[in-house]
Symmetry: C2
Subunit: 231 residues, 2 copies
């Protein structure tokens, strides 16, 4: 990895056209050739970048550029698309390279799959007498997260999201529409379960007769035995 601190201006042309005026920034050139341009703020997203596969060539500035104080020009061209990044370096403050090797990568725990597993394990969270039929119940338009039965024996389809958005309600609605055509299952009730449910999503769900349940990840996890933890 090469890390350069430099006063530079940047022009990107591809899916959109974008320009960065002259300022001091950090340029990161990764082993795969990708380039990131970071400022001293914002979040993890760079001001501008070029995704791999791409190739960087260092050019001599032309007369006009040289007159404006450009010391060197980096042209980063995407290998497959008509995307390129032109970085005009006016002053290089620091330039160093390090061999990082390949990274073992991130180990995660606690996303939607985990929520689904926990809720399946403690399906009574939805109500007394609820029993699990299946996780990832396959349908023609995709898998239903959880299929279960309520105390009265009626089928219930559960859609789980970390954030309950309107999209999730639409998805569940499509599942319910399909499931209710199956005489073996119908009538099927819907439950929209998420850690946070957006007001609009709640309104839409309620309007369609879908019950909303907010999930408490920590509480679900607390009920769980602690032997199967990663850490």
């Amino acid at each position: 990895m090469r890390v350069v601190i430099a006063r530079c201006s940047v022009d990107y042309e591809g899916a959109l056209v974008a320009h960065l005026p002259l300022a001091t920034r950090l340029l990161m050139v990764k082993a795969d050739g990708s380039v990131l341009i970071h400022s001293d703020g914002g979040s993890y997203k760079p001001l501008n970048w070029m995704a791999p596969p791409c190739k960087m060539v260092e050019l001599e500035p032309d007369d006009e550029e040289r007159e404006q104080g450009v010391a060197s020009v980096w042209l980063v061209q995407h290998a497959k698309r008509e995307d390129h990044l032109r970085i005009r370096l006016h002053e290089v403050i620091s330039d160093s390279s390090h061999d990082l090797g390949i990274d073992p990568g991130l180990i995660k725990d606690g996303v939607e799959a985990q929520l689904q597993a926990l809720l399946a394990e403690h399906i009574a969270t939805l109500g007394d007498g609820y029993t699990l039929l299946r996780r990832e119940y396959a349908t023609a338009i995709g898998p239903v997260d959880i299929l279960c039965k309520d105390a009265a024996g009626a089928t219930v389809a559960v859609e789980i999201k970390r954030r309950g958005d309107i999209d999730g309600v639409e998805q569940l609605t499509r599942y319910l529409e399909l499931l209710n055509r199956d005489p073996h299952l119908a009538p099927v009730q819907g439950v929209f379960a998420a850690q946070v449910i957006k007001p609009q999503a709640r309104v839409l769900a309620t309007d369609r007769g879908i019950r909303c349940v907010t999930l408490d990840y920590e509480a679900l996890r607390g009920q769980d035995d602690t032997t199967s933890r990663l850490f």
Copy 2:
């Protein structure tokens, strides 16, 4: 901005739990206190990070850590949430700081707003005799991108996307449902306009009587006068 190259392991605990095994990586500490951990690959997304507002403190390793070769521990705590990042540095290969100043920021051109403006300006792209009623026509469930009339005087609602996905069709369907309840507007036809329309979205739209139109950004722009360009 502080840039450190170090052999380190990382543990994150917050919305999820994640771990990075010992390896050589780039650590970026920005002026706002945020921390990014980059490997030599992937795209612009770091392996792990802490978003601002947050605070970093450097701790002495405890006995167990010291025994495992930990030279220093960085604890990055989010200011508002129960999120923290623990970086255990085993070997610091490089450590440097630079004053970057505030960045003037990115100047963009060519996204959905641009498409909407261009299509509104050249609404006849949808058909001869089409006339614009309104852009961003407000409804209870959100703004309709473009409302116009066809040659016969019938109302047409247009939803514009860069990429025409199934979600966009659902969105337009909801608008049409609502607009068609208004006797002043009904019957309202739907047009789904995008630079690229996914096959599934096209099938769903057609099934619902919604016309699909693919937009040629360059062609629309070509029709446009060239006086109002940014570059």
